[in-house]
Symmetry: C2
């Protein structure tokens, strides 16, 4: 058993979340630094390395006792070589992130995308409960996903596996999706999709609703209204949950996961969302598949990423 | 590099296909023995071991030079412990196949189900071209599948991953499926499903068709008639291919495979099937996913199983 320290950095467009972990996954310390996007993000590796060094000193952790640095990053990348092709929020284009961080920190570095490290984090220490086969779905502005199979993240042949938001749900006359097609799961199960469904329903007729005459309809308002018995809101939640549960069931008959974790802002609706999703899932999946699979709410929130980064170091960078 | 010999046995209800391979996957010899289903299949391990020993003698292969025996088997099983819960064609119930074969052969043994070993075989030495991420779909009496991710077979949390035949395709008023639900891919893309679609079309009206007044409509006859320009047959092939291509696209956006291999009797239709399936796939998948993925016809036929068994030994049983 390797007992070295695991270093983690989850890079976002505004802040970099950082952490030091014991190899068990227990947290030693976590902190944030701002992401310096000036000069197309050129200083990010140096700043990150300086901050890591400072916290290693604070905790009296020598470099020889750190197994490596795991990094999560937004954008499209070559994960094997750690080159970020394009990260628009940071300014990187064909940026050799892994090499630069290795040079700056003198540590082995492993890089993966932010959705994947968040999924791994939930799998390892969150709602995934360290299960070997699980799906993590993020229901936010869009719908993202991370797929864990045989205890490892699935990248696919060109690094774009997990595009669960672009499973086709409405095959005819679906709403336009950001991907250029129509009827994707993201057009229905994202916060944006839920608001669109509610606005469409409000415009369709004069049904009274708590959602009328608000300055702004949000997905949170839709779930709150549904909880209060608002029929229009309930019909939106019911449709969205049925389609999400159905889509998850199709993936589950192929992958037979033991857990599906729902995270992101929309998942904060809790049982108002999870109960109907579970019901639709059970109706749509093979009984042997649905009886083997729990659907749970994510628990780690924004900390999932650094936990996943620590897992990457533990599992992918050989110690000693 | 381990250069030991790999032994393989793909057990079916009528015959057991057997093989000896170099560790490269090159065949040394292959042969068949009948499956003795008398006495609830109790003698199968002893017969299999005797036949293997005979062929090892023939090729002057000493036991020390065999890395292990890989076994494919039908039915529902605990792959980790090699216990077959139920294999109706052989007569086994809670049969400790792995232990019995280890006792009889004095070799390390690994057991997996027949659909998985066939998928692994196609992945390693067939149309899968040793790609790390591929799907193998068998279009036969039913629709089965094997999922390869990160160069390994996906079993799922309870050993039933790959049930691609039970992806839901027709959500309302679908035909009944053997699984007890309706509208599964198997009701459309299996040989049985194609025949049903053709018979339904023939009964619906009086459209002239080459398929009328035959003693029996087979899926092969449907594809042959379609090739000859028969409109009714073409409409069946068109519907079936569109639904199959759409279903494959949904799986591909989640797993981003580089190859999807279509095997089984229905796949013998070749381009008549593959061309429209490819077209539907490209229309339904994210462009980045479809451009990364080839759809190909299986090439190994009934030999895929023993090749996959040899791979299991090579990858899962440590040599020396």
């Amino acid at each position: 058993m390797n007992s070295k320290v695991l270093a983690a950095a989850d890079i976002g467009g505004t802040t970099i979340k950082m952490g030091l972990f014991h190899s068990s996954g227990d947290l030693i310390d976590q902190w944030e630094i701002p992401t310096d996007t000036s000069n197309d993000g050129a200083q990010v590796p140096a700043h990150l390395a300086a901050s890591l060094s400072q916290y290693m000193d604070k905790h009296e952790i020598a470099k020889e006792n750190v197994q490596g640095l795991g990094v999560g990053c937004p954008g499209f990348m070559d994960m094997e070589n750690g080159v970020v092709h394009h990260a628009v929020n940071i300014g990187w284009r064909d940026f050799p992130l892994k090499q630069k961080l290795q040079d700056e920190t003198d540590l082995p570095v492993i890089v993966d995308n932010d959705a994947n490290v968040a999924a791994i984090g939930e799998m390892w220490k969150g709602a995934g409960n360290d299960e070997a086969d699980c799906l993590c779905i993020t229901l936010g502005t869009g719908v993202g996903g991370g797929v864990i199979v045989n205890n490892d993240i699935v990248h696919g042949s060109s690094g774009i596996a997990g595009e669960i938001g672009h499973v086709s749900v409405v095959r005819e006359n679906g709403a336009p999706c950001n991907c250029g097609r129509t009827g994707c799961l993201e057009t229905i199960a994202s916060a944006t999709g839920i608001v669109r469904l509610a606005l469409d329903a409000l415009q369709a007729d004069e049904t009274p609703s708590l959602l009328r005459n608000r300055d702004e309809v949000t997905s949170q308002a839709v779930f709150e209204a549904a909880t209060k018995g608002d029929e229009l809101a309930q019909s939106v939640v019911s449709f969205m949950s049925r389609e999400l549960g159905h889509a998850l069931a199709q993936i589950a008959v192929v992958l037979n996961p033991s857990v599906i974790v729902l995270g992101g802002g929309v998942s904060k609706a809790g049982a108002t969302l999870l109960d109907p999703v579970r019901k639709a899932f059970e109706q749509s999946a093979l009984p042997l598949v649905s009886s083997a699979c729990e659907i749970k709410q994510a628990v780690l929130g924004n900390d999932a990423g650094i936990v996943g980064c620590a897992w990457l170091v533990r599992e992918k960078i050989s110690g000693n």
